[in-house]
């Protein structure tokens, strides 16, 4: 009996150690990003890096201003959000409240399959099919631009927003719904005035995580956004979001060169964005979680 108990205790500690692995990895990632990224600030000040308007990393002397890159990322994410958030939430509401079970059984797997579509295929599609199409449709000079990238990013964010929102809506206690019906509201009015407000924290989390995915996505923006390190003037301008710059230039920056450090510093900034998004989402879902309905 003693042996079993000793093994049990040992196993407990073993599992604890393994569970700490994720935190360890995360810390290592942060550590390496900082270790390789900070040296760039010996060459250029933080203010010049973040607000500088010119990204010419291989020039002599080089310019390491990532402001156009940041704007590219932000604009592409916001535009994709404008498309993805309404579509995602509306689909979630449809699946959770309105769809007959047989229809839901078709639509749900469709959304899941959307989520599993590899990003390189979506980027390829954007580059090869969508670009010429919107070039002709809108009579614009080139189809590789912010709009194209945002469309494709929306395709990628919608499943995230939809499934998380759907979970949140599903978790709204039936009693709230029934009370609303009892007071004479139509189904739609119940959805708008009771269910959505009740699941708002979950929906917010879903939206934030969806946007976080969009801002961090690499292949789509690498292939479909155009690659121009400029501050966009219209939605049909080509842009160069942060992940695209890293992916495009990583292979040519010799280890330890300023360019190398600059790219890691961009990685730091990108990680910072997604980290903050995740913290906010975590905070919202923890603070405002539904802790049971008001019932007897």
């Amino acid at each position: 009996m003693l042996k079993r108990q000793v093994i049990d205790k040992g196993v407990h500690s073993g599992f604890l150690l393994i569970a700490l692995f994720s935190i360890t990895v995360l810390s290592l990632i942060v550590l390496f990003l900082f270790k390789e990224g900070i040296p760039i600030f010996e060459y250029v000040s933080i203010k010049d890096f973040v607000l500088g308007q010119y990204w010419y990393p291989t020039d002599d002397p080089a310019d390491f201003g990532i402001f156009p890159l940041i704007l590219g990322s932000v604009s592409v994410t916001l535009l994709s959000g404008i498309i993805a958030i309404p579509l995602g939430i509306m689909t979630a509401v449809y699946l959770a409240e309105i769809a007959p079970p047989k229809v839901a059984e078709i639509v749900k797997p469709i959304v899941e399959l959307m989520a599993s579509m590899p990003s390189v295929v979506i980027g390829f599609f954007g580059m090869v099919v969508v670009a010429p199409f919107i070039q002709q449709l809108f009579n614009i000079p080139v189809g590789l631009n912010m709009f194209n990238a945002s469309l494709m990013l929306a395709f990628m964010s919608i499943p995230t927003i939809c499934s998380l929102s759907e979970d949140a809506i599903f978790c709204v206690p039936a009693a709230l719904k029934e009370a609303s019906f009892a007071l004479g509201a139509t189904h739609f009015e119940t959805i708008v005035k009771v269910i959505i407000p009740a699941s708002l924290s979950g929906i917010c989390t879903a939206v934030i995580l969806g946007l976080s995915r969009a801002i961090g996505e690499t292949m789509v923006v690498l292939m479909a956004a155009g690659g121009a390190a400029m501050i966009p003037g219209s939605i049909f301008d080509p842009v160069r979001p942060l992940p695209a710059s890293i992916a495009a230039e990583m292979a040519e920056a010799p280890f330890g060169s300023e360019h190398y450090h600059a790219l890691f510093a961009i990685g730091m900034v990108l990680f910072g964005f997604t980290f903050i998004f995740n913290l906010i989402a975590d905070y919202i879902s923890y603070k405002f979680r539904q802790v049971g309905e008001a019932s007897l």
Partner: protein, 271 residues
């Protein structure tokens, strides 16, 4: 569940067992997309003659190739420009002495869409287009429309040469689209009626239209006689003086057979 665990164990064992190092002669070549067609053809021919040699290729740009040499991740770095002073200092700082081998000659030809009527541009006009000073095709005699400037990523040797010889070291406008390879330029220009780009000789084909520079056509003849203003050498860099298979491959590329393959790839052989 036990069957599944057994499967994983077997697969793991397979992977670990085959981890025994059996490094057959391997040659890693990385770098310029301009030199890539040459590298591909010569590598295929070399591997056919020497079956024990394994050559793996990557593109990515001349910057990639030179970096790979410096960092030791490749034996040969293809470059369509000469090594930069900064890179030499970085290399020698790490104890690496890059050795250049010029394997071919090439010209960088400005290209436009097949529907574009412009057929001739001066060096200054090219520079102004890429500076963003000339914005519309009608300013240089074409059908009115916005000029879509397509350029290469910073890793490109082609871009490096363009910058020196055409831009005279001034910066390309930030709103220029960037593509990662010569092939990418062809794709972009062929699909966009208002686009202009530049590619090495080996990438000229029927999808795009070559433009004469100062009245001179970019061709083998005009490169060899020096009249075409945007010409350059194509290089293969090695880490220190090449030995073994690396030496064998470089000698092959510089041999008569290798140079005939250079010609097949579309660039200009040295002899």
């Amino acid at each position: 569940m036990n069957k599944f665990i057994k499967l994983i164990v077997v697969l793991t064992a397979f992977i670990l067992i085959t981890s025994s190092t059996g490094i057959a002669d391997e040659l890693v070549i990385k770098g310029s997309t301009t030199v890539l067609p040459i590298a591909q053809k010569t590598a295929e021919a070399y591997m056919a003659e020497h079956p024990s040699v394994k050559i793996s290729l990557s593109g990515g740009g001349s910057g990639n190739g030179i970096k790979a040499i410096i960092d030791g991740t490749a034996q040969i770095g293809n470059a369509s420009r000469f090594i930069k002073q900064k890179e030499v200092m970085l290399a020698t700082g790490k104890g690496v002495y890059p050795v250049p081998f010029r394997v071919a000659l090439d010209a960088i030809v400005p290209v436009v869409n097949n529907k574009n009527s412009v057929a001739d541009l001066t060096l200054d006009q090219l520079k102004d287009i890429y500076l963003g000073k000339i914005k519309n095709w009608k300013e240089i005699g074409g059908t009115p429309g916005k000029i879509v400037v397509v350029s290469r990523d910073s890793s490109s040797g082609t871009f490096g040469v363009w910058k020196n010889l055409v831009m005279k070291k001034e910066r390309v406008i930030p709103s220029a689209l960037t593509v990662p390879s010569n092939g990418g330029i062809v794709q972009a220009v062929a699909g966009t009626p208002g686009a202009i780009g530049y590619v090495g000789l080996g990438y000229l084909n029927s999808e795009i239209k070559a433009v004469r520079v100062d009245g001179i056509k970019g061709s083998e003849e005009n490169t060899l006689n020096g009249s075409f203003p945007i010409s350059r050498g194509l290089f293969m860099f090695t880490k220190g003086w090449p030995k073994g298979e690396t030496m064998g491959f470089i000698s092959f590329v510089l041999s008569k057979k290798g140079q005939s393959l250079v010609k097949e790839a579309g660039s200009i052989p040295l002899f």
